[in-house]
């Protein structure tokens, strides 16, 4: 047995020991496999096909029944998993990374020009109404399939960055940062190795929030013609179902909300478990 372990390997081992964390990671992974299957054309391809009957109850042919147009709800829910991953995960991960890096730089150099520039950028992005911004980006990218992702990342990172910035401004005054400087750790490593891990609790929770917000914003953007151009998403399904639930048809709603809920829940548990794993003071 080796005598010492680093923070990361300890965290990893701790995570492996967390049953809830593992289970939730398993669920997220399961969703990912579903999404992968859609990418690889293994399933979920019938999401748009009209079957013979509209609003059919659950059956072996249609696990969740069909919707008013006669489309298979299960297939739609499955296909939406792909959409959710493309949007939720990519936006959550990328905007968190961007937010962490820029926020840390801005907080570390608070008051200096790099901070000013980043603050300026954040202020600018935040001041422009979200929809206008997304519409413009979509237009600028000529309806590129990733336009929505780009726009969401560009708008969502600022919150993370601001939160990180505030925290970094506090952390950088602590003595252990001074200690790091004393042994000659260069600034970029101070930021990334010493300061950012101490904001991991914020990053994780922000990533979770962004993940959910992205999935939810997608539907609004889809309304505006900026979301998924051709395809379906849980958000769209829920939007479709708002008219149905009033008259007591819940299949669409439950299929989409249920899948969304389980994923969000699992993702939350997963990020909680990560937070625990990354928190040295927390021992099971």
């Amino acid at each position: 047995m080796s005598a010492g372990e680093s923070f990361w390997s300890k965290a990893w081992r701790k995570f492996l020991g967390d049953r809830f964390g593992l289970a939730s990671a398993g669920i997220v992974l399961g969703y990912f496999v579903i999404a992968l299957g859609v990418w690889l054309d293994l399933w979920g391809q019938q999401w748009s096909t009209l079957t013979s009957g509209s609003n059919l109850p659950m059956s072996s042919a249609h696990w969740f029944g069909t919707n008013l147009s006669g489309q298979d709800i299960f297939d739609r829910a499955i296909y939406s998993t792909k959409t959710a991953f493309e949007i939720g995960l990519s936006v959550a991960v990328l905007s968190t990374i961007l937010g962490a890096i820029l926020g840390a730089i801005s907080g570390f150099f608070a008051g200096r020009w790099s901070d000013e520039v980043i603050l300026w950028l954040m202020g600018t992005l935040d001041s422009i109404p979200f929809y206008l911004f997304v519409a413009a980006v979509a237009f600028a990218l000529q309806g590129h399939p990733l336009a929505m992702h780009a726009a969401m990342i560009a708008t969502f990172w600022t919150t993370t960055a601001r939160v990180v910035r505030g925290e970094v401004m506090k952390l950088k005054e602590l003595e252990f940062i001074e200690a790091a400087r004393a042994i000659g750790v260069p600034q970029h490593l101070i930021i990334f190795r010493h300061i950012l891990p101490n904001t991991s609790h914020l990053l994780l929770v922000q990533a979770t929030i962004v993940f959910v917000s992205a999935i939810k914003s997608e539907v609004i953007l889809s309304f505006l013609g900026l979301g998924v151009q051709d395809g379906v998403s849980w958000g769209l399904m829920i939007a479709e179902s708002t008219q149905e639930v009033i008259v007591g048809q819940f299949k669409n709603f439950f299929a989409a909300s249920g899948m969304l809920f389980v994923l969000v829940m699992a993702f939350n548990l997963f990020s909680d478990a990560l937070q625990d794993a990354l928190d040295p003071k927390k021992v099971h």
């Binding site: 009209l50 147009s69 151009q229 769209l236 479709e240």
Partner: protein, 588 residues
């Protein structure tokens, strides 16, 4: 106003009559120049006066004099209309006028109001109705729109007589004078409020605007509105049809009968339904598609469940308009092609697509199964042309479609990729998916029908008007009950950016259109209309059509017969509320 249980009162604490109407959309601009939407028209017709209007209850729609004293006197050549205006009609009191008191409305005001449409700085949305028709009017606009200058075609004979001189016969002219676009505006108001006239109408209508925002409009009765006792028989009252609504109570009384008219703009069906069924909020709603099963006992004939008829008054109304899906004839791979052979192949493709359309599925899915599917391009509300056309254009025939494709040599591989455009919404997306599903049934690969969605109507319209899309789902609301109003949608010179969105270009059709345009109504013209319809059908230009049928519900204490077509908001002046003692409490 607190929508609570106490009856509404005025400033003096006296009980007043309030009617709370609802609409599924909001108007933005209340200047008659811009009353282009159903919603704007609703308010404009209640705040401004038009020369003519439609009879309250007569169907098919029939005109009657409104501000005019009588129907116009038309010269034999059909080029001159002499219109006499009722004396003593006053604009509402408004700070725009001297002393704040509304002055009398005169013929010059009518001329002025029509002129405004041709003032280029006004960006009128209704000028196309009269463009090129009234002598000297277009020129007046191009010459700088000097209001002091007279226009030959708008001759103010005296204060109460206006003569309109046309460049060519325009049988629909009287109809246009009943539209919100023709609302009479006093120049004082324009001078004072400028562009903000759009939010504070100053007219001579039965109501005056008290409050207007994105959520609702509050109108108050115009105390000076001219006294015109209503003659129910003349308005088309038929006890067999209209009995039981309590309309008899308004006989011989002068509208408006209510003190306040509130119109809530509610786009969300759930909210509208909750507000309506609540009992003390809006008193009128159209039944949302998803609630159809809740209220209907049978669809054919349309019959409400007893507990609903017990609680509410109801009526159904087929829209004066229709929905259809046009194919862009500009595209050489889908529409007109100089190569006759390809042209023929394209026609087969279009016809096959039309054959694939499952109107009954569409009707059931999106229009509660009560929409009226008809062949051709003239909706039932305008004429009964459709009954004379063959049914095959609206009956699904996959066999025939496949044969067509096969014969014309279309295969999955060489079928063109089509762009299907829509302004994004849940429903339009579902419509698209269904359309694509229909096409899949004749072997049209789903990947070859691409959705192109637009965030705004402006962008969608731009794509249409610049002829970018291949498949164009459309809806058209009639401006007046004349087939001409929809036939012009296929008139060659009207190609985009005009109203001919499918860019149909058929010289034979155009010739007939030009011919009929100056014809007075009659069987002869009807025959030609039929021929024109048949041409469009034969060329498979569009997949048409369905007129939506709406079920309206209103509270029992409201006396009236709602209608949102042609008539626009005109009927609201006839609405009355039963006094508290006459009311039977609405079941909750």
């Amino acid at each position: 106003s607190k929508g609570s249980d106490q009856p509404a009162t005025n400033a003096d604490g006296e009980a007043i009559k309030v009617y709370r109407h609802s609409m599924d959309g909001a108007p933005t601009n209340l200047d008659p120049l811009h009353s282009a939407t159903v919603y704007a028209n609703f308010l404009v017709l209640n705040t401004y006066d038009t020369l003519y209007s439609y009879k309250y209850l007569t169907r098919p729609y029939a005109l009657k004099p409104n501000l005019a004293a009588a129907m116009p006197e038309i010269s034999d050549d059909g080029l001159s209309y002499t219109i006499r205006i009722k004396p003593g009609v006053r604009f509402v009191d408004d700070p725009a006028f001297e002393n704040g008191q509304g002055r009398e409305l005169v013929a010059a005001d009518v001329a002025y109001s029509l002129k405004r449409h041709f003032d280029p700085s006004n960006r009128s949305q209704g000028s196309w109705l009269w463009a090129g028709r009234i002598k000297g009017l277009d020129q007046w606009g191009q010459d700088g729109a000097d209001y002091n200058e007279d226009v030959e075609g708008l001759e103010v004979v005296d204060d109460h007589t206006l003569a309109i001189h046309l460049t060519k016969p325009y049988p629909q002219l009287t109809y246009t004078l009943a539209m919100g676009f023709a609302g009479v505006v006093p120049h004082e108001a324009v001078d004072k409020y400028g562009r903000e006239l759009s939010i504070r109408p100053v007219g001579s209508g039965p109501f005056r605007m008290a409050k207007f925002d994105t959520a609702k409009a509050v109108l108050e009765a115009n105390p000076h509105f001219r006294q015109e006792p209503i003659d129910l028989a003349a308005e088309g009252f038929d006890p067999a049809i209209h009995g039981g609504l309590g309309l008899e109570a308004i006989e011989g009384r002068s509208p408006p009968f209510i003190d306040r008219l509130e119109i809530d703009f509610i786009l969300e069906t759930a909210a509208r339904w909750n507000s309506f069924t609540k009992g003390n909020e809006i008193q009128f709603t159209s039944v949302p598609v998803e609630q159809t099963d809740t209220v209907l006992d049978s669809r054919d004939p349309i019959k409400l469940k007893p507990d609903w008829t017990e609680r509410y008054h109801s009526t159904t109304g087929v829209e004066a308009g229709f929905v259809f899906t046009s194919l862009n004839m500009d595209k050489p791979y889908l529409g007109h092609n100089d190569d006759p052979q390809q042209d023929a192949r394209n026609r087969e493709l279009r016809c096959a697509m039309r054959d694939a359309m499952d109107w009954s599925a569409r009707n059931n899915r999106f229009y509660s199964g009560i929409g009226v599917v008809f062949p051709g391009i003239v909706p039932p509300a305008a004429s009964d042309l459709h009954s004379k056309l063959p049914q095959d254009s609206i009956s699904r025939n996959l066999e025939r479609a496949r044969t067509r494709l096969e014969k014309a040599g279309w295969t999955q591989d060489n079928l063109p990729t089509l762009e299907y455009g829509f302004q994004n919404s849940v429903t339009s997306r579902q419509l698209f998916e269904q359309f694509r599903g229909f096409m899949a049934d004749i072997g049209y690969p789903s990947s070859k029908i691409k959705p192109v969605s637009f965030a705004t109507f402006g962008d969608y319209n731009k794509a249409i008007k610049t002829s970018q899309l291949d498949v164009i789902p459309m809806g058209w609301g009639l401006d007046y009950p004349d087939s001409e109003n929809t036939l012009q949608l296929f008139y060659g010179p009207n190609h985009t950016p005009g109203s001919n969105n499918s860019n149909y270009n058929n010289p034979a059709f155009d010739a007939l259109f030009e011919k009929t345009a100056v014809m007075q109504p009659g069987p002869e013209r009807e025959k030609l209309y039929l021929d024109m319809s048949q041409m469009v059908l034969d060329d498979c230009v569009t997949i048409s059509g369905l007129s939506r049928n709406r079920i309206y519900l209103w509270h029992k204490d409201v006396i009236g017969l709602p209608n949102r077509e042609i008539l626009g908001g005109f009927w609201l002046r006839y609405v009355d509320i039963k006094n508290a003692d006459e009311q039977t409490a609405p079941a909750s």
